[in-house]
């Protein structure tokens, strides 16, 4: 029929996934075709599994079977920058830096505590999402940090 297949490259946790929109009712993933159906607002069905979706700026949110996934669209040519950005950790809210647990040059494993923030009387450890080397630290113990401001940077 000559319908154009739309190819999307989605990124989740640093991994890229290619998804093809075959037509309005079919999406191909990993070579397999899934029948898709839009239900009421936000609700969809993939095959016979219900899922929920939402879009917030660049993030595609998906809820499937009790798990939530946040995917972004890969931008052509932006892979390197995306990788670098991935290693920057920021505070999600105004918080006080309780402890800086690492120093520039330290090798860290995924899950290692890098910084301990305190907000709302709770200690909030900031952990490494992946292994890497601490390339810069831009906060001090006792400092009040604002959301979105880089605290620490990791290189692969």
């Amino acid at each position: 029929m000559g319908t154009r297949v739309t190819r999307l490259t989605l990124v989740h946790d640093g991994e890229e996934y290619v998804v093809e929109i075959v037509d309005a009712a079919t999406v191909r993933v990993n070579g397999r075709d899934y029948a898709v159906h839009r239900d009421r607002e936000g609700a969809v069905r993939v095959g016979d599994r219900p899922a929920w979706i939402a879009r917030d700026r660049d993030t595609r949110w998906v809820f499937l079977d009790g798990r939530t996934y946040e995917l972004t669209d890969a931008r052509p040519g932006s892979r390197r920058r995306a990788a670098g950005h991935h290693g920057t950790l920021t505070s999600p809210m105004p918080a006080t830096v309780r402890r800086v647990a690492v120093a520039v040059g330290d090798r860290v494993k995924a899950g290692d505590t890098l910084i301990v923030l305190e907000a709302m009387k709770m200690e909030l450890p900031v952990r490494a999402a992946q292994a890497g080397t601490v390339s810069s630290i831009s906060c001090r113990e006792g400092e009040l940090v604002q959301p979105g401001v880089p605290l620490i940077e990791l290189d692969d």
Binding site: V19, R32, Y34, G42, I53, V62, T68, L71, P92, P94
Partner: protein, 495 residues
């Protein structure tokens, strides 16, 4: 003297819950709201609402009392958290001629002092963790006290009350080693080297008893809630009944809780928290503290006993006698509560802020959701991150667990990360199925959760993600924030 109009001095799901109970009881409800809460669900749930100022106004006795007076309320319900356990609020209400829907101020005060409460409970015959300050403070005296209590023991500073100078001794010879350094640390911290020795309760469960008392001397208990699944003293999953109690232990704990309530002259709903050591026929329980208010987890008690605790609170505050006798109360089936928090379990349970792009609560037989939010709301970080409580009930524990798991799988929350994946993982864990719980079990299991986090995205999730583009419908919700009428008002210079 039945209540006419109740000011709800709280926010979130509990304010909504109280407003519902008021409406059913034919009592008018008045919500209070801070600047950021102007459009919040609890404001619409009440009959009327009073603006009280910035976020910290929920913690201001003056602001709340002024709101009660300006709205003509004859009673004030404190909910939980905020000022609910502040004797000053109860006292200010009494002075202003406003009925406090809770205990008398001096009962709050007596239970608020850890040391005083422990002494009072001891006198009332309620078991407390064995321990004391030995009269003979020499190393031999400390050792003798430890040996009498039985090992392991905690050795800590008698002054203070925190963990300063705290040591665990597992054997007699360790006591002699530890006593000297504990004494030095106590001396350094408090200028008083006197030591306190207490039995260490190992792997305790947190089991609490709901009590309700009226103003005419009637006191009953409404059985237990097991709240051992907690993190940093924040409860995550609660259930009733507890698998650890025999009918005999349950009856003993109920009696102890009633005695505790009587000993402080308690009126209204309250909870006696116990540490439980061991289980079955070997279980022993020790008074931990009393929560002199309604608990977050009260719905599981409602589910298994069939009573409405908030309705009872309002009736008792209005001077009515207890609507039940101890003999008329029984536990039936099993209930589990899961607290849904705006927290990211993958990054140390960081509280999350953001828009609720999709928020759909599960429904079905035996499913109740007490919620303080709705789709389109924006969640901030200035308050407790509790979004809602999923409460399921079924005929037995296995059925209730299965029901909770299915309900969580059908509880989409998008736009903000929640602990729903962690709750599911916890309920599906063999340790939960076995009921082999203690207050440290979540911390023990947490490493497994982080390790087990499956990074791969299922094909179906990827296919669903593709649908959010191009498509006008779901993606347009991202703008719901800017379409919020309250935001629009703010742009027009609303105060």
């Amino acid at each position: 003297m039945s209540l006419r109009r109740v000011l709800i001095a709280n926010r979130g799901e509990i304010a909504v819950r109280i407003a519902c109970a008021c409406r059913e009881a034919g009592i008018e409800s008045v919500a209070v709201y801070s600047d950021a809460d102007a459009g919040a669900l609890h404001v619409t749930a009440a009959d009327r609402a009073v603006h009280i100022g910035a976020a910290n106004a929920y913690l201001s006795v003056e602001a709340l009392l002024a709101a009660a007076q300006s709205s003509g309320a004859d009673a004030l319900h404190p909910g939980y958290g905020f000022l609910s356990e502040r004797a000053a609020l109860a006292r200010a209400c009494a002075a202003a001629g406003i009925v406090f829907v809770g205990p008398p101020a001096d009962a709050i005060e007596r239970m608020g002092s850890k040391i005083g409460a422990r002494a009072l409970m001891s006198l009332a015959g309620v078991p407390v963790v064995p321990g004391g300050t030995p009269a003979n403070q020499s190393d031999d005296g400390i050792l003798a006290a430890a040996s009498t209590l039985g090992f392991p023991v905690l050795v800590k500073a008698s002054a203070g009350g925190g963990g300063k100078g705290m040591r665990v001794a597992r054997r007699a010879e360790e006591v002699l080693e530890l006593a000297a350094s504990a004494r030095r640390e106590a001396q350094a911290a408090f200028g008083d080297g006197t030591l306190y020795v207490e039995r260490l309760i190992q792997r305790p469960r947190h089991v609490e008893i709901q009590v309700v008392a009226d103003a005419h001397g009637g006191v009953v208990h409404l059985f237990e809630r097991e709240c051992s699944l907690q993190r940093r003293h924040q409860k995550i999953v609660e259930e009733s009944p507890s698998v650890a109690l025999t009918p005999e232990t349950r009856a003993q704990m109920g009696d102890a809780a009633v005695a505790a309530a009587r000993a402080v002259g308690y009126v209204n709903a309250g909870t006696i928290e116990f540490l439980l050591e061991g289980h079955g026929g070997d279980a022993r329980f020790y008074f931990l503290e009393m929560n002199t208010r309604l608990q977050v987890e009260h719905p599981i008690t409602e589910a298994v006993t069939g009573v409405d605790l908030v309705r009872a609170q309002l009736a008792i505050a209005g001077g009515e006698p207890l609507p039940w006798t101890q003999a008329s109360l029984s536990q039936r089936g099993h209930a589990i509560e899961c607290r849904v928090y705006a927290e990211d379990p993958a990054s140390g349970f960081l509280p999350q802020a953001g828009p609720l792009l999709v928020y759909r609560e599960p429904s079905g037989p035996g499913i109740r959701v007490d919620s303080g939010v709705r789709e389109g709301d924006r969640v901030g970080v200035e308050f407790d991150p509790l979004l809602a409580k999923l409460v399921v009930s079924a005929e037995n524990r296995a059925a209730a667990t299965a029901r909770a798991i299915q309900a969580l799988r059908a509880y989409p929350v998008l736009g903000i990360r929640t602990n729903i994946p962690f709750l599911l993982w916890l309920l599906e864990h063999p340790v939960f199925a076995a009921g082999d719980l203690h207050t440290g079990v979540v911390d023990e299991l947490l490493a497994g959760f982080v390790a087990a986090a499956d990074r791969a995205v299922p094909d179906e999730a990827l296919a669903a993600a593709a649908l959010s583009e191009p498509g006008p419908s779901p993606s347009s919700r991202a703008d719901s924030r800017s379409r919020d009428p309250w935001d629009a008002l703010a742009r027009w210079g609303r105060e």
